[in-house]
Symmetry: C2
DNA sequence: TCAATGATTTGACGGTTGTAGAACTGTCGT
DNA sequence: ACGACAGTTCTACAACCGTCAAATCATTGA
């Protein structure tokens, strides 16, 4: 069976922790929401629309990348982010798996 | 209409942040899993089974209580914790609601 | 080649956090 | 009343985190 192109249905312990950590900061969560609001979201628009410095934006997006919550596509001098919903579902599934059946 | 005894189907912004923060620490997550592994879990068993001090256990359970992820019942000198799965479902639902439809 | 724009990296700073240990409160048996 | 046990609170500390500013890298256009 070939390796799946999309996403693993389950997360490693390490990645589970990274996702939880990434979601724990309100600002980072807001950035993630913005990115998820469109099919693709240009990085410089995040810089325009959030009252934080470029460096901070870069820091947060790096964390989101590490967690696998977004992916980046470079096009010339621009970078476009895309929300990875598969990682999110994997996270919520792992959460419910660890904490028994939920309502 | 009377106030519901169980849990709100949706979380306030504040509570959403508290839950995300509470879930972001691996140790606290492990404590939550232990509590969720039974209908009720006595506090002193957490102290026995985790290699951290009493003070640290108390600190973490306090955070879990603040987030509404557990509830406590006192019985004499003992305290029993119970996982609140309703808060967890509310959290995952809010997460998916904020990030658009997911797989 | 040079200037301008987009993005990353580095260094520093203040606030937060996980942790231990000691002191304290509360409850049970004897 | 007293000692043992369960839990909380306080203090202190090292590590981490979000943030900015400045420097640096990368890419495009003139």
């Amino acid at each position: 069976m070939p390796t799946r192109a999309t996403a693993p249905p389950t997360l490693t312990t390490r990645q589970f922790e990274l996702v939880a950590k990434a979601l724990s900061d309100p600002r980072r969560m807001a950035l993630l929401e913005a990115i998820g609001s469109a099919a693709e979201y240009p990085c410089h628009r995040l810089c325009e629309e959030f009252p934080v410095s470029k460096g901070t934006i870069s820091h947060h997006t790096k964390e989101l990348l590490r967690a696998g919550l977004i992916q980046a596509r470079r096009e010339g001098q621009y970078i476009y982010f895309e929300l990875r919903r598969d990682t999110l579902t994997a996270y919520t599934h792992e959460l419910t798996r660890r904490l028994g059946r939920m309502g």
